[in-house]
Each structure stands twice: as structure tokens, then as C-alpha cells.
């Protein structure tokens, strides 16, 4: 399993953090502590795995971020959304999920797709209508239990 790599850039008053690899017991976020900026944005696009020890490390790290910093989560893959839905504290109060991936399935071409969605596209906890990225079929099916998968929006 690929160990976690943390890339970070500070631009103006924003700390941008890209997480790559597995978030597990070996993950250490201390290199981010003390870099607090007004805004902190996390990019989870390349996170391949997360387990309960990784969640513990993540929550411990979140507790060290000053409350005055606003936090946003970007490009959350399905595994991260599942954790946010399940674990208290994975998502700090007041934080924002800007974008995430959701599973869809096209009956026409029989292919699955992880579709990148913006949080603002979700209305009344309903997944937006999406066209198949493979065959362009219209309005393909959401491939999870909608109310369960989008439950995190109630936490925001």
C-alpha cells in the first residue's frame, strides 16, 4: 500500500493540501501543523485507501487546526464520502465539501462511472441528472443508496 504523501502550497491566505496514497496508522500530518492560514483546502482526489487508524490520525490532526481557519474538502472519492457519513469528527463543524465523486451506472452501455459533482449541484439530497461519460446516454442511474450516500450534506 502506497504510504501517504502530502503536497502543500501556500498562496495568499490559503493553504492547499493534496493528499496522495493511503491514510492509515503510518500517516503523520504533523508537517501541516502550524501552517494554518485563513483558508485550508484539502484535495482527496488521489487518496487510495483509508482505515480506522487513519481516521483517528485525521481527527487528531483536525483538532489542532485553529477554529478561525475555514476548511474545505475537495474531490472526495467514494471511500472518503463513506467515512464522512459514518464517522463523527471526520468532518469538522463548519467545514465545506466543495466537490466529490458519486457512483453512477449506465444501463445502456453497462459501464460504471465515478462522476465529479459540486456540492451546489445537490438539491434536496437528490443526485443531479447526469449523462453517461462513456456513451453519452442521458440521465443514467445513481449507483448507491442516494439517501445514504448524500447523508453527509446534512452535516455541512
Amino acid at each position: 500500500m502506497k504510504r501517504l504523501t502530502i503536497n502543500k502550497q501556500i498562496l495568499q491566505d490559503e493553504l492547499m493540501v493534496e493528499l496522495i496514497g493511503a491514510i492509515d496508522e503510518d500517516s503523520d500530518f504533523k508537517e501541516l501543523i502550524g501552517l494554518d492560514q485563513k483558508k485550508i483546502s484539502f484535495d482527496f482526489n488521489k487518496v487510495s485507501m483509508i482505515n480506522s487508524c487513519g481516521i483517528r490520525e485525521w481527527i487528531k490532526f483536525l483538532e489542532k487546526i485553529p477554529e478561525k481557519s475555514s476548511i474545505s474538502y475537495n474531490n472526495c472519492p467514494q471511500i472518503i464520502i463513506e467515512q464522512i457519513n459514518m464517522v463523527h469528527g471526520f468532518f469538522r463543524k463548519g467545514a465545506l465539501i466543495n466537490s466529490f465523486y458519486a457512483p453512477y451506472y449506465c444501463e445502456k452501455c453497462g459501464k460504471e462511472a465515478k462522476v465529479h459533482l459540486l456540492a451546489e449541484q445537490i438539491k434536496n439530497k437528490k443526485a443531479p441528472q447526469v449523462d453517461c461519460p462513456h456513451c453519452s446516454a442521458e440521465n443514467i442511474d445513481f449507483d448507491a443508496i442516494e439517501s445514504q450516500y448524500l447523508a453527509f450534506l446534512g452535516k455541512v
Partner: protein
């Protein structure tokens, strides 16, 4: 149609199966655990279509639970998902029969222990790595000590070699004569001197080999005075060269420790070597190192004091004395690891190495636990939750006997508690429940008979066996009734004799 939606609130994946072993429901968590969307899961109607185990027959287990209609728990099994064969999960399954309006069904709960098990395996691996590193440090320290002592050891080897060479020349000259018969006594004497000198060289080399041998952490009963003597032999050439005397103060009884003797030697050599370095650097006149044995406190700790009349240790160093890389020596002399390693070695024997405040010189105290307590806590697995085993206390002042019986009894799954001192053994049986005592008969200080009498007077009503030579048979016959001695192990003995006597005595004691 029954409603299983309450399973959706659980954190564990749950699937519900009917009596035909068809899957009729998946809870929400199943989709996450099996990494399959509900759309696909709904198409699966058999357990083996979504998971399989390399070390457990899922179908057989399910059939058993069908027959018993009872809650069943599986052992921890290795689970694979057909669509993700690379990943291995460690799972405990629980099968729960449920009676519904439409008939009997079974809920199977998948309790995921993967993280816990993986962490445990990782922890074991890292612990092994640490142990390996620790052993390498110990070995490095031994090599350093040996390196520093080598010059003087070479000198020590040179002396007997010179003597042997001289006597060989004498023999050669004596053999030149045409009639050697009248010179035979001289030749024999010279030959004896050669042999003794070579034996001395052999002894020095044997000690070096033993010291350097990377032994496992094997602990055995050993005579502490003997351990100290070997350490002194090692250090003596260096001390002699520096004009330092080493005085071993005699103790009135045999001190026995349950220890790794090479590691204990390493500690004593290190402490004495530090003393020599300090005495030399301080140019102390009539430098002396004393080694003293005592037994201290109500807990009968075995104590070795190593005291010198050197400059002592400065206040700044004292505070960090047992920390690694603390040294008063110049670069190139000593690694600064010596006392840290010594302290760790003594701790591994459940003992303590301390520096004692002293107005003159430096005083280190090495305290080891009484062997009865140490062997009991080390050997009795029931203390860590395992099934209770019979506890046997063996009292003998010969360490070889303790080591032999320790091996015999432990092979037979009995708790061996060794003792070499009757008084300590008497104190110990007051504190711990002992099923059987085997006592040597002829011991200094107190005979086996006197010990048995005191044990009975103190209220011990367990089984007692004597262990002695055939000539004490009359004594046994007398004490058999008076002191309720259950049997006799006759020296010399073999394993079968000993174990049979002990087993029969234990059985009789249960009646």
C-alpha cells in the same frame, strides 16, 4: 415480507439468508464492505458469490448452523472478495437464526478485524526487528569491551606460552642425554608444566569464545560467585597492569541466580572496567575494586556491590548515568553505551542496577530478584490467564540439579519453581500456593529433614518428596510418617524416575 431495515443502522455488514442459502437482504454497510453497488449485490444470491475464505469452509459452517439453529461464532477467518482478490480481510462471522412470520432465516454479521489483525502483525514484526537491533547493540558492546581488553589478554596468553616454551626446551635438552631414565622425573615435571600452561591458554580462549557467543536469551540457574569469578578472570590482566587490586569478599552461602550468565558477566566486566578506567585516570594510589555479595531485605534480593576507591562520579553525570551515550571517557574510549546496556540487561532479569551514594569512590549495586519469585512469575502461565498448572518447588543447592529438573518439569507442562536456599523457600511457600515440594536432603545450613519439619510447622500441608542418595533411605523411612514425606527420588536419577514419582505423588495428593 419481513422488514430487515433496522440492520441498515449497524456499522457491520449484515446479510440475511433463507434456508435454501439464498441471500434475501443486504444492509447498507454491505455495499461499502463488499465494494459492490446495491445494484450488483441484489443480483448475488449465494454467499460464495460475494466472498470466499482460504482457510475456512463457509458452506460447511452454514450447514452446521442450519442443523443446530443456534447462534454460531466463527474463528477469525481470512476472507477474499472475488472482484478484489489482492486484498485480504480478517473477519469474524456471527450467524444468528431468526424466526419470522414467513419462516426461519439467518442473519450473518461480518465483524471486520482487518485493521486490528494487520496492526498486530505489524507490531510483532517491528518488535522482532527491535529485538534484533538490541542484540546487535549488545554484541557491539561486547566487541568493544573485548577490543579494549585484548592487549592485556594477549599479554596474559603470552605468559603461559613463554613458560610452556621454556619447559619444552628443558625437555628437549633432557632428551639429548643417551640415558633419560634418571631424568624421567624432571621430564615429567616439565611436561606437566607445559600441559598446565597450555590449559591456562585454553581457558582464556574458551572464556573469550563464550563471551562472544551470541547466545539466545536463555536463562538458567547459575552460581553467582562463579559468574563473578569468570568476570574477574577477564578483567584481571587489565587490573594487574594498572596496579589495581580486585578483592572478592566471601559470602557464607551459595548465591544462585536465574540468569543468562554471559550477559551477567558482561554487566560485571563493564562495571569493573569503568572502575579501572576511573582509577587509572585519577592516578589513584593503591587502587582497589571490591566485589561484595549480600542478601537484602525481606524480599531476599541477591545483591552484588562493586565498589572502588576512585574519584567517584560527578553530579552532572549522575543524573544521566544510565542513559545511552553518556561517558566520562575521551573519544575512542568506550561507546557511552555501557551503563545503559548494563541497566537494560539487569532489568531483563527483573533486577535493578543502581548507583549508591558514597563518600569515597564509586559504588554500583546490582540487585536480582530471589529465584523463587522470578522462576514462579516466569514459568506460571496461569498468571497471564492460561489454564492452571501444578506448581512444583524444587529445593537444591546444586545449580545443575535445578537446571535439569527445570527442563524435565517444564517439558511436562508443570510450573517449576527453583530454590537454593531453604529459608527463602520457607518464606516463599507462605506466600504462594505450592502443590509439591522436592527437597534435596544434604544441604549446608539446613538439611532436607529440617526444612520439611519447618515447612510442616509453618502449616504447609502439600506433598513433600525427598531427593537424595541411597544412603539416606533410613532417614526417609523415619520422616515418611513423622513429617508425611510422600516419596524419595534417588540420585542419580533419570527423567522417567523423576516424572513418574512426581506424577504419582501429585495424584495421591489429590485424593
Amino acid at each position: 415480507m419481513s422488514d430487515y431495515s433496522s440492520f441498515d443502522h449497524l456499522f457491520d455488514p449484515v446479510i440475511v439468508m433463507n434456508l435454501k442459502q439464498e441471500i434475501i437482504y443486504f444492509n447498507h454497510q454491505s455495499s461499502i464492505f463488499f465494494k459492490l453497488p446495491p445494484r450488483i449485490l441484489k443480483q448475488k444470491n449465494h454467499l460464495l458469490q460475494i466472498c470466499d475464505s482460504s482457510n475456512f469452509d463457509l458452506e460447511d459452517w452454514f450447514n452446521k448452523s442450519l442443523l443446530s439453529f443456534d447462534v454460531l461464532l466463527s474463528p477469525e477467518i481470512r476472507l477474499h472478495l472475488p472482484h478484489d482478490p489482492e486484498t485480504e480481510y480478517f473477519i469474524i462471522l456471527k450467524i444468528v437464526p431468526i424466526q419470522t412470520d414467513t419462516g426461519a432465516v439467518f442473519a450473518i454479521v461480518f465483524h471486520d478485524k482487518t485493521v486490528e489483525t494487520t496492526l498486530h502483525l505489524k507490531y510483532r514484526e517491528q518488535l522482532d526487528e527491535l529485538k534484533k537491533t538490541h542484540n546487535q547493540i549488545l554484541q557491539a558492546d561486547k566487541l568493544t569491551t573485548l577490543g579494549e581488553l585484548t592487549a592485556n589478554i594477549s599479554h596474559e596468553i603470552n605468559n603461559p606460552l613463554t613458560i610452556a616454551a621454556g619447559h619444552t626446551e628443558i625437555i628437549r635438552d633432557l632428551l639429548k642425554s643417551s640415558d633419560v631414565t634418571p631424568r624421567l622425573p624432571q621430564i615429567q615435571k616439565a611436561n606437566q608444566n607445559v600441559l598446565e600452561s597450555l590449559e591456562r591458554v585454553n581457558q582464556i580462549i574458551r572464556n573469550m569464545k563464550d563471551f562472544l557467543h551470541q547466545s539466545e536469551d536463555k536463562k538458567e540457574y547459575c552460581d553467582l560467585e562463579n559468574v563473578v569469578d569468570t568476570a574477574i578472570e577477564w578483567i584481571m590482566p587489565t587490573a594487574k597492569k594498572a596496579g589495581i587490586s580486585i578483592i572478592k569478599e566471601a559470602f557464607d552461602k551459595r548465591m544462585v541466580a536465574l540468569a543468562n550468565r554471559v550477559k551477567l558477566e558482561q554487566v560485571i566486566i563493564n562495571l569493573m572496567k569503568n572502575s579501572i578506567d576511573a582509577l587509572v585516570e585519577n592516578k589513584t594510589e593503591k587502587g582497589t575494586i571490591s566485589v561484595r555479595f549480600t542478601q537484602s531485605g525481606a524480599d531476599h534480593q541477591t545483591v552484588i556491590d562493586i565498589i572502588d576507591n576512585g574519584p567517584g562520579i560527578s553530579k552532572e553525570i549522575k543524573e544521566n548515568l544510565f542513559k545511552p551515550f553518556v561517558s566520562t571517557k575521551d573519544a575512542g574510549h568506550g561507546t557511552g553505551m555501557g551503563l545503559s546496556i548494563c541497566s537494560k540487561i539487569v532489568e531483563a532479569h527483573r533486577g535493578k542496577l543502581t548507583h549508591i551514594e558514597s563518600s569515597i569512590g564509586c559504588h554500583f549495586r546490582l540487585a536480582l530478584p530471589m529465584i523463587e519469585v522470578y522462576s514462579y512469575t516466569r514459568n506460571d502461565r496461569s498468571l497471564s490467564g492460561s489454564k492452571k498448572q501444578k506448581r512444583i518447588l524444587v529445593l537444591d543447592n546444586e545449580v545443575q540439579i535445578l537446571n535439569v529438573l527445570s527442563a524435565f518439569l517444564q517439558e511436562e507442562n508443570l510450573v517449576f519453581i527453583g530454590s537454593s536456599d531453604p529459608q527463602s523457600a520457607l518464606d516463599f511457600i507462605q506466600k504462594a500456593s505450592i502443590d509439591l515440594i522436592v527437597t534435596d536432603f544434604s544441604m549446608p545450613i539446613m538439611t532436607g529433614g529440617e526444612f520439611a519439619q519447618k515447612a510442616r510447622e509453618s502449616g504447609y500441608n502439600g506433598t513433600i518428596l525427598y531427593m537424595t542418595g541411597q544412603k539416606f533411605i533410613d532417614q526417609y523411612n523415619k520422616d515418611k510418617k513423622n513429617l508425611d514425606i510422600s516419596g524419595l527420588i534417588i540420585k542419580p536419577f533419570n527423567k522417567e524416575d523423576v516424572m513418574k514419582t512426581i506424577r504419582l505423588a501429585l495424584k495421591a495428593g489429590e485424593v
